[in-house]
Subunit: 476 residues, 2 copies
Amino acid sequence: MNANPLFTDFYELTMAQGYWKKGLNTQTVFDMFFRRPPFGGGFSVFAGLDPLLDTLENLRFGTDDIEYLSSLGIFERGFLDYLSGFRFTGDVLAMKEGSLAFPNEPLVRVHANAIEASVIEGLLLNIVNFQTLIATKTARIWLASRRGSLMEFGLRRAQGFDGAMSASRAAYIGGAAGTSNTLAGKTWGIPVMGTMAHAWVMSHPDEKTAFNAYAEQYPDKSVFLSDTYDTLGSGIEAAIDAGKKLAGKGKNFGVRLDSGDIQYLSVAVRKALDEAGLTKATITVSNELTEEIVESLVLNGSPIDFWGVGTHMVTGGSESSLTGVYKLSAKTGADGRLEPVMKLSENPEKATNPGVKQVWRLYNEDGSMEADILALEGEEIKTGREMRYFHPTNQGQSFTFAPASAEALLQPAMRAGKRLRAPAPLAEIRAWAGAQFDRIDPTYLRILNPHVYKVSLTENLRDMKCGFIAEYGRQK
Amino acid sequence: MNANPLFTDFYELTMAQGYWKKGLNTQTVFDMFFRRPPFGGGFSVFAGLDPLLDTLENLRFGTDDIEYLSSLGIFERGFLDYLSGFRFTGDVLAMKEGSLAFPNEPLVRVHANAIEASVIEGLLLNIVNFQTLIATKTARIWLASRRGSLMEFGLRRAQGFDGAMSASRAAYIGGAAGTSNTLAGKTWGIPVMGTMAHAWVMSHPDEKTAFNAYAEQYPDKSVFLSDTYDTLGSGIEAAIDAGKKLAGKGKNFGVRLDSGDIQYLSVAVRKALDEAGLTKATITVSNELTEEIVESLVLNGSPIDFWGVGTHMVTGGSESSLTGVYKLSAKTGADGRLEPVMKLSENPEKATNPGVKQVWRLYNEDGSMEADILALEGEEIKTGREMRYFHPTNQGQSFTFAPASAEALLQPAMRAGKRLRAPAPLAEIRAWAGAQFDRIDPTYLRILNPHVYKVSLTENLRDMKCGFIAEYGRQK
């Protein structure tokens, strides 16, 4: 993790100097949330919390950073001295990493003075936006494969070094079984996986020699890349030749398809393998796979055992950013106490929800998720009691529900700049992410046009929001 | 730069052990190239060379890396010892960073033994694919703005730490005037820029107070964010109030629009500013801008002075990866000399161009670019002499041309693992990238449906390629 607070938008520092000079560096509350789930889907998988907490805990300006800022000629010596001693000393509440998350609900809530809260905006969004995007994308591909075996193969197509490393981490949380990125394997304890490259095949006189040489070296890990010259000709013939020798030693093997029509080729290769008596041999496919392609292959009955996914899994493909934002929800008022604030907007969905808020997840009798509720901090959601909840922007729309159980999702993660527990093992975060898909109706998980999961407001929060809108209307 | 060779796909290491054991660790040549320009465009801007060379020069396995590999239980002690002493000792030829590049032409050519060439594949592609994608995207936005003033505002939407840092670098090469990323400013010497956030406005009782407080602190750098509550109401009124006071002191200022209909609002804000006598005040716009939106605003005559671009500039937006590849083009034959190799494919555009190759850029009398030619190393392209060149996949198609001048684009950048010159100043790379747009017909630069720039083969290379295809056909 990089914990240099210069990794921030320049305006945070110019504003910070303003807060510092004007005595405005008082307590604030910020919410990090997104406005719609990515990929036209119905959910997100929250990821990036542990790296965020590590970064916040270690945030320091170096001497050369202060010198650089000084060289720009717009910061006063007193403010630079203040930055020299800068630490993040705020509190962070957050959902458990790996949690399913929905639009408009805070994933992370920050209580800090205005300067600290501002300086961390960019790095918080950078970490959480990206890892949440990738965990979500991977979960979608995993669901499309009917919870199959995904291998993350994205290093070469990822957006830079950390684009690859953080993507390997987030993809594992989202459901990938392993990664090809060896350094991610070492760093995060993710299983490392791989097959062979065209260059291996081309470094030998022919495919038969290449595959047999590989099988001799790695009898327990042989997956033959069969499309260097002619998949259904020399490629599959050589794979069967090497595979039979392995079978003779009681070893299994696989065939990898990396080009051409995957549906057609996988059926033909399966047939050829079965006819050769190699019914246990596996088929791995790759080549610009997306959740839509994976689902189509599954629905068409393609006999595929392993999915190697690169570009789209590690970059999000056609949607390359979660448009998560970080907005002020409360500030210190004249009386020294926190008071709610709200940003209005000509785009109603860009207006914020005011005040210090908790997110409640309401469950049915059978333990399935029914709806999420934004409440003011301190409001309690009672189980077994019918309550009315309100649509976040269309204030006339409401529903009533008596939850069998209710869970407050935002939990303290950092207090006074210190994290409250050690990072969770990645496998635990991954298991938690996966388990939730059994507790939500599959209609919310559909790849295309999913059912919209409710995120509603309590009556108190609704009233506060309407009050701001009405007040602003009067001033206008 | 991270120079850990574990940042590689796992199969590179398993194949490497195979090369090592089988005496196959002989000299190879690999080409890095892409098969089509991104974003439906006609060109790419090659970026990432200097970071790549730095990384290659410093590539070392640490003791803990070797221990990690050992723990996987599939690498032999002798091979791990070999990796402990691993260095990249190969030669690299490359285009000058910032060069315009086109499909199928090597941007980077690597001469190294099979293990070194394999281990670096992932990091080479990771660095060059991403930075080239972003430099290209930025150049498209810059061209769409009619070479206007772009500010890169992408830190919070970028794909992780290096996704932001490398994007700031590449966006500057591609034509951005500056970045909001303060650490990128320090690291790469890029001008840092910024305006103010909604939180600044909301931290004050009203916009008038907020803008005047900012103007007092930064009289030379005031850009007022006018859309916190009501752009054309309280927002522009407050901006004019603070702006008039600045004008009284002989200072200029700007207004920033970050939501709503940018075309409508920019015209209305311009009118309001002009009517207030503030004709020099500038207008900055932002909010999910793409090259298509920028071009449409320009063509509609929107009075915009500065463009703040985030998400799409730093991630590529809907196209999040340059699908650049790295393919074996020659290997050591039985006689110990380099011999060409070729990968065939059922997708003809996935077949490679065999042999050790140079890229020649052919110019017209007036210095404008006419076509690029792939030639075998050692072939010379003579100026003033008509030659016939061949389509790369449709071998029947050809054209003749007598270049006024011709330039070999691949130049030595690293020899025996040592870079041949210090990194070029970023401003120099940026100037070189920008200058080339004056030497190419604008039809190749069109945002939508550009004219296709020719990348053709010499007769010798065409004959070699046809020979491979015919030979393989005979064996089949």
